[in-house]
Every structure is written in structure tokens, then in C-alpha cells.
């Protein structure tokens, strides 16, 4: 079988691709920022919170981690309007990604928190730090440092997972590739280009996060 590749037909649609890259990055940055913060809060709740909160957060984590992302996305976009809550595709995508990432982040960060030696916490207490100070200054920074590689991987998984947000008409990268191939039928080329862009994005995001972590989250 002979395949003629015509990349120009796809690359000439660069404004669509660029917009797609923009949305994919925007979705990722927003959901990663909120997701990590919610993850820290939920991880604290699961490790140190009151029993009822542990139970609530635990159920949330189990519910999200044991259902597919696309089902969560469809529930938010197609399901919530039945309850009177109409969201734009972009907002629905961000919420779905935050909800999804937070649940995984909770478990990743909790692992780091629980790995903190007990003596370290007792030492902090003996220096008259209160529980909040102990958590934010003594427990959290080394915990984040320990689990950061896993956290970065999870953020990248969620970024790649955002490819399905095109299903509800969010104009991210896969949506752009699909739209281009449905117009000029250059499916093979469109998806090769999209694949390479995703590859570059993933590597860039990984390097960026590895650079950001030590500088802003736990100090060098």
C-alpha cells in the first residue's frame, strides 16, 4: 500500500494548531496549579484531619480514581445541566481535569507526608511550632520533594488526557488535529503532527516542572 504524505496540507492550518496548543497548555497550567493545591489540602485531611473529613476525602479519591476521565467529563458537561448548572466546554474541561488530578495528587502527596519521620514532627513541636506551622514548614516541603517526580508524571498524564476534552468541543490540540483531518482528510499527517507536538509539549512541561519544583516549592 502506497501512502503519500502531504504535511503542508496540515501545517498550512497552523493557526488552528497554535490555538490547540494554547488551549492544551492553558488547561494543563490551570488544572495543575489548582490540582496540586487541592491535592495538598486533601492529603493533609487524609493524613491529619478529623475522622469525618478523612472519610469524605477518601470517598472522593476512590470515586475519581476508579472511574474513567471521559465519563467524569461527560457527567460534568452533559449531566450537570440537568441539575441546572450549565458550563462552557472550557470550564467543564478545567473542572473535570482539576477533579481528576486532585484525586491522584492527594494520594501522591499523602505518600510523601506519611514518609516523614515521626522524630522530625516531634522536634518541630518541641520548638513550639503549632500544627499548621509544622505541616507547612517541616512536613510538606520534604514531602513534596520526595514525590515530585511522581507528581510531574501525573500532571503530564492529565495533560495528555486533555485530548478527550475535544469531545465536548473544547478547542484543544486533538480537536484541532481532528478538525483539520475532517476538512482535508489528511488523517495520517494530522495525527503525526499532533503526536510530535504532544511529545514536545510533554518534554517541555516535564523540564519546566523539574525546574520550578526546587525553586518555588521546597527551596534548594
Amino acid at each position: 500500500m502506497r501512502i503519500d504524505l502531504d504535511f503542508l496540507a496540515v501545517l498550512s492550518q497552523w493557526p488552528l494548531l497554535l490555538k490547540g496548543v494554547g488551549w492544551t497548555l492553558a488547561l494543563t497550567v490551570i488544572s495543575a496549579t489548582i490540582g496540586v493545591m487541592v491535592g495538598v489540602a486533601c492529603a493533609w485531611s487524609r493524613a491529619n484531619g478529623p475522622v469525618w473529613l478523612k472519610w469524605v476525602v477518601g470517598s472522593y479519591v476512590e470515586l475519581v480514581r476508579n472511574t474513567p476521565f471521559i465519563v467524569q467529563l461527560f457527567f460534568i458537561y452533559f449531566g450537570l445541566p440537568a441539575a441546572g448548572l450549565k458550563l462552557s466546554p472550557e470550564v467543564a474541561s478545567i473542572i473535570a481535569m482539576v477533579v481528576n488530578l486532585s484525586a491522584y495528587a492527594t494520594e501522591i502527596i499523602r505518600a510523601g507526608i506519611e514518609a516523614t519521620p515521626k522524630g522530625q514532627i516531634e522536634a518541630a513541636m518541641s520548638l513550639a511550632l503549632n500544627r499548621m506551622q509544622t505541616f507547612t514548614r517541616v512536613v510538606l516541603p520534604p514531602a513534596l520533594k520526595k514525590v515530585w517526580p511522581a507528581m510531574v508524571s501525573q500532571i503530564i498524564i492529565v495533560m495528555l488526557g486533555s485530548a478527550v476534552c475535544g469531545q465536548i468541543s473544547t478547542e484543544e490540540l486533538s480537536y484541532a488535529a481532528n478538525l483539520i483531518q475532517s476538512r482535508n482528510f489528511r488523517a495520517f499527517e494530522a495525527f503525526i503532527v499532533a503526536t510530535l507536538i504532544y511529545l514536545v509539549l510533554s518534554m517541555a512541561v516535564r523540564h519546566l516542572l523539574n525546574w520550578l519544583g526546587p525553586r518555588f516549592l521546597w527551596g534548594r
Binding site: I3, K86, Q167, I168, S182, A187, I192
Partner: protein
């Protein structure tokens, strides 16, 4: 690992892959022979497009397009393997030889004619914009500022993109089910789709008070064959011409659309 080094190794792997794919063996006009030899024909059909193609309560595909596919298989004396496709991926199935024929409410347009060939028409169809009675839409200008849902890559997407003024918020979905769901959920104010999808949607959701608003295009359905497969195309044309004469095509249209096929273009 060093970033530049990683990127370099990835690029070289990709290039090697292209080099391997590039110069394949040329092959043309063998689809009909292959089908006759294997006594089997792969036909792409829709499963999200009643009454043309949908999944019945017995979980088997049925509809006008499926009947047409089985009819052609019977005339060719070949077993039919039905391949479910969506509006967005059906042409790719033909290009990559995952299907010999696409019978999937496929309309004819110049863009598509560049990449695949078409047989004579076998069934009638039209696309239009639909919305609730309470929404006033008398011309395409009235769509300005409104959101319109459409299935990406379908004929109605291309027509709507052409006809709608700049201020229309066109929301493109992956398949007809998602487009219809978004309209029913109230995520879009209007929907651009085929008459059959709209008819089915209106029958199941009378509370929405949906009505026909604007005609996008009259587009009878054609059967798609891979570019250059003239032998297969002519054979299918023969079968369609016979079916028109014998009244079989009209019978199928009566069964699924409630009206005869009427005058169809060659």
C-alpha cells in the same frame, strides 16, 4: 537525560519510521478482485445515525445503510463484514483499506472527490438547522450571537461554516450522539444536523419543541469507494441501477424513511 539529546533521538526514530512507510508497493483497482476472491466485502456503516444506521435492541446494527450494504453483498455473492464508523473517521477507513465501501450517509462534495470516488446516489437526504420554536431564526444572520452544535467534519459542518456569519458560536462535537446530547442538555441553542437525526431527536424529546429553521443543503447519499477503484465502483453502480429499476431501492427508502427514494442523481 539531556533535553536536546532526547529530542534528537526521538526525531531520528520518527524519520526512520517515515522512511519505512514511504515507498510501499503501488496497488490499484484490485478491490473488486480481492472481494470476489475472498467472497467477503468490508462495508463501513454508521451506528449513530438512525434510521440510516443504528444499533437495535438486539445490539445488532440495522437501518437503511446496513440494508443497502447487505443488498450489495448479496448481489456480489459475498459475505458482508459490517464495520461501524463515525462521520469523522469514515473517509480514513476507506483510505487505509479498512473498508472496501463506505455506505454511511455520505454526501458528495469537491473536497471529498479529491480523495475518494463516489458511486451513483442510493438514498435521499438533507441537512438543516433546527432549534426550539421559541427561538427566532429566519435567516443565517439571525444565528449571530447564538451557539450552534454540529458534528465535526460532517457535510453540515462544512455548509454551516460557509453560510454562518462571523458572530456565530459554532461548537463542533465528535459524533452525532454528542451533538444531539449537547442540544438536549441545552448547551447549544441550535443544532445543525441531518433530517433523520433531527427527526429522531424531536420524536424522543417532544418537550423541547424543536422545529426546522434553515436549509443547509440537499444532499443525497452516495457510496464511497477508494480513489481509483473503478472496477468496484462500476460494479456497484450496476447494482444500484438494477435496484432502482426493480424497485428494491424504493422499497428500502419506504421501509426506513417513509417515502420512496425519488429521483436520485447518478
Amino acid at each position: 537525560m539531556n533535553f536536546a539529546k532526547t529530542a534528537y533521538s526521538v526525531a531520528s526514530v520518527a524519520l526512520t519510521a517515515f522512511a519505512l512507510i514511504g515507498p510501499g508497493t503501488a496497488h490499484a483497482q484490485t478491490a473488486l478482485d480481492d472481494v470476489m476472491k475472498a467472497k467477503e466485502i468490508k462495508i463501513a456503516i454508521p451506528t449513530d445515525f438512525p434510521p440510516y444506521g443504528f444499533v437495535g435492541t438486539d445490539l445488532k446494527p440495522q437501518g437503511l445503510d446496513i440494508d443497502m450494504g447487505l443488498y450489495i453483498g448479496q448481489k456480489l455473492g459475498a459475505k458482508v463484514e459490517l464495520v461501524p464508523v463515525t462521520s469523522a473517521n469514515r473517509i480514513a477507513y476507506l483510505q487505509t483499506k479498512k473498508a472496501d465501501l463506505v455506505i454511511s450517509t455520505l454526501g458528495k462534495n469537491p473536497d471529498r472527490e479529491k480523495v475518494i470516488d463516489f458511486t451513483a446516489a442510493y438514498s435521499p437526504f438533507f441537512q438543516a438547522v433546527f432549534a426550539a420554536k421559541t427561538v427566532s431564526i429566519k435567516s443565517f444572520a439571525d444565528l449571530t450571537g447564538k451557539s450552534v452544535g454540529v458534528t465535526r467534519g460532517a457535510i453540515e459542518d462544512q455548509e454551516l461554516t460557509k453560510l454562518a456569519p462571523a458572530g456565530v458560536d459554532i461548537k463542533r462535537f465528535e459524533d452525532n450522539n454528542a451533538t444531539v446530547s449537547s442540544f438536549i442538555a441545552g448547551q447549544v441553542q441550535a443544532i445543525a444536523t441531518g433530517a433523520s437525526v433531527a427527526g429522531n431527536m424531536m420524536a424522543k424529546n417532544p418537550q423541547l419543541g424543536t422545529e426546522y429553521k434553515l436549509l443547509l443543503k440537499d444532499s443525497p447519499n452516495f457510496i464511497g469507494v477508494a480513489k481509483g477503484e473503478d472496477k468496484l465502483r462500476l460494479k456497484v453502480n450496476e447494482i444500484i441501477a438494477e435496484g432502482k429499476k426493480s424497485g428494491d431501492i424504493d422499497k428500502m427508502a419506504m421501509k426506513w424513511l417513509g417515502r420512496p427514494a425519488g429521483d436520485l442523481p447518478q
